[in-house]
């Protein structure tokens, strides 16, 4: 067990855990932030996507000991993020979600995409969202919502 100082959604958090614990489980179980989801644990689905140092990251394979000083941003902070809020609203108005379980990760990937590429093409979308699995198959509407958010932000 070791104590780590984290910055999560602009707040300082101390956690005492096994250093190999993935960031995902620290968020979910120690910090009680269950918006970030577990889908596969092997970086194959993107349900656990958070931003670490501004980069979309699969938190299920990132040991807490490797987070370091980098700030962590999760889905719980998106409603207060300028781009995050627009993306969430686009998701709602396009009626994207079905079961919803993948959507925290989808939105975190989409926000990262729009931060880097304000006017994404279909190809940009496919590249950035290509690792986010949705078993319900909401991809068509995800595409529409990203484009709608980009228009809104434009």
């Amino acid at each position: 067990m070791e104590t780590f100082k984290l910055t999560v959604n602009c707040q300082q958090k101390d956690v005492t855990v096994d250093p190999s614990t993935p960031l995902l489980w620290v968020l979910r179980e120690d910090l009680k932030m269950s918006g970030t989801k577990y889908g596969c644990g092997i970086a194959a689905c993107g349900a656990c996507t958070v931003h670490v140092g501004g980069v979309p990251t699969r938190s299920c394979v990132l040991p807490i000991s490797l987070v370091g000083e980098r700030p962590v941003v999760t889905i719980e902070a998106m409603s207060n993020d300028t781009i995050g809020r627009v993306v969430e609203e686009a998701w709602e108005s396009e009626d994207v979600v079905q079961c919803g379980y993948c959507q925290s990760g989808q939105i975190m990937s989409a926000v990262a995409l729009l931060k880097a590429t304000p006017k994404p093409t279909d190809k940009d979308i496919e590249e950035s969202m290509g690792g986010n699995l949705c078993r319900c198959g909401t991809y068509v509407r995800i595409r529409q919502a990203i484009k709608a958010a980009a228009r809104q932000l434009g």
């Binding site: 067990m1 855990v17 096994d18 190999s20 614990t21 993935p22 489980w25 979910r28 179980e29 120690d30 009680k32 932030m33 269950s34 918006g35 970030t36 989801k37 577990y38 889908g39 596969c40 644990g41 092997i42 194959a44 689905c45 349900a47 999760t74 889905i75 719980e76 998106m78 409603s79 969430e88 998701w91 709602e92 009626d95 994207v96 979600v97 079905q98 079961c99 919803g100 379980y101 993948c102 959507q103 925290s104 279909d122 979308i125 496919e126 969202m129 290509g130 690792g131 986010n132 699995l133 949705c134 078993r135 319900c136 198959g137 909401t138 991809y139 068509v140 509407r141 995800i142 595409r143």
Partner: protein, 728 residues
Amino acid sequence: MATATTPNFLEVNRRTFLRMSGAAAGGLFLSLHLAEPGHARQTPKAQAYPPAAFIHVRSDGKIVIQVNRLEFGQGVQTALPMLLADEMDADWSQVIAELAPAADVYSDPIAGIQMVGGSGSIAHSFEQYRQLGASARAMLIAAAAAQWNVMPEQCRTEASVVYGPNSQSAKYGELAESAAKLPVPESVQLKKESELHLSGKNTRRLDSRGKCNGSQKFGLDVDLPGMKVALVAHPPVFGARVKSFNADAARAISGVRDVFEMPLVRGTGVAVVADRFWAAKQARDRLQAEWNTASVEHPDTAQLFSKYRELARTAGNIAMTRGSAASMDSIPSSKRILAEYEFPFLAHTPMEPLNTTVRFDSSGAEVWAGSQFQTFDQMAVAEVLGLKAEQVTFHTEMAGGGFGRRAVADSHVQREAATIAKRLPGIPVKLIWTREDDVQGGYYRPMFVHRVDVGIGADGMPIAWRHVIVGQSLVAGTPFAARLIKDGVDATAVEGVADTAYAIQNFYVSAHHPEINVPVLWWRSVGHTHTAFVMETLIDELAMRAKTDPIAYRLKLLSPDAKKLRACLTLLREKTASWRDSATGNRAVGVASHESFGTGVACAVEVSVENKRPKIHRAVIAVDPGFAVNPLSIESQMQGGVTFGMTQVMPKGAITLKDGRVEQRNWDGYTPPYINDAPVTVEVHIVPSSEKPTGCGEPPVPVISPAIVNALSRLTGKRYRSLPLAEI
């Protein structure tokens, strides 16, 4: 999951009536109960469970509606409240929908148990929710009329307000308490279609916001004080038992509380209980377990296929026979197609891994689970814990997909969770099946082999059809067997062939159901996952041989009473007219149509081959679900359903076994479609209809795979008869 043709497997009489369920303080509660003539039911058990009813009109004006089945993406948590609120003239912005706990009162009115399956939510509860709404409205009007000393007929309602003849008005929230003291009307008049203001209109989901901002809690997010997390090491071959295990290394992990051998539905396993997931996971990885695998059968995909192919050469138990079986023998081989199809095991892999939380103590138990079968799962927990079902409070948790995987007659996940909780009285235990447990844990769509002999007449239409289907029964040994297995044929294995809408004169279908040591389960759209593929690729091949347009060919062959498919194909033809015949160069169009669960679907896809894989540029769907309760949700189900259906054409869309062991572990080895694999656009057209509504969760799944390979056949000239789809 029962088929559309046999929905009432528990033979519950459909007659329903309303009964008052107590004027509780704080508003109007209203319940609808089933009446079984001849078996007078006692006071509804539901009253023992909070919340006691379907509708709670709170004095603050909020209207809380209990949804009698699981929401796991299909949109029922929005659609059923729409029906109710519409009849009630409730202010939609004040409606809150909750997932009802397990209780008799929430049974599916047709199935007789509380469940989601067979695309039956809307089909079965359409009238029920409308009656509830209409009754609540009548009671609220009666309360207002009494207060104003006017006749109820003089009042009207709109957006949760009753208006009287002399410009009186009262909000539902204000009337709720007095309305609750009035008798429930014996019968109510439902609105005419033209009077509906919510149903039939595009309505956004009620559960979007929480699912977009991370606040929606799913079963896996259940967090209780003092809760422990449990993982189970399952046998490497189904049904094997633990020979011995060394838990020293596992116990050495900080936070591990208990490691013990436990019985499973099949064989035995080793449970690891820890404070946190990561400790439990590390401990399970370090367990040294030896398994006694010698006494169980070791299924092997390659061997099974050769065995199935052999079986398919002989006739099985007869599923359907029409005309003369011998008519085939007089047709020359030049006028025959002999086709053999192979389908692998498929895992559902819903996005949210399987899980269940149980807390057990001397007075009873509490369960939190995303369940498609609350009735069975509650009974199973009670049985494991030595309790009565009513001592088990069963909370229905929002589920991250299911596709059939949470509708398991043996309740194996809930049994495991209860077995572990029993050892730790007073402590809530959350059992998690990791993705590896899920991919390797069985309960797959069974493997199938079809062998079909088609005889073609002078006009290019099929005149004789001999069809043998080989695959495990889904329902053998379950409570569904009595209703779904007839004369040795499991209806879920032959649906979509035996009841085909194509009018084929001499038609003979039989089935073999080998018993194999692999647990199997319904996978979204059940038998239609394979039967539609066989029928729709063969019909397309016949159309090509006859040099006839695939839509025209189907319309010609459909029986006159296949109204929905006719309507879908006609609409599809109209909506694709501008481009369907002009696909050029490296693109081709494939068509398929199929009716399942009472809903007709026709699909056209425009496909090219890129990197040896089909690229789907667009898909167009025409669907006939009867009256479309929420067209927006139907559109989503069609879009999502075709993507889900594509799982089986993905290069890694198969579960295979070698010497008893599953060869895939996670989504790296069993890989469903991602955004790059899915169609870029899916355009959905709904046939206008006032017929009774039918379900939309499953019907889009069967059409997509045949439509894709039909397009590929047009591009390459080859036929594709085995899934998953190898390199093109």
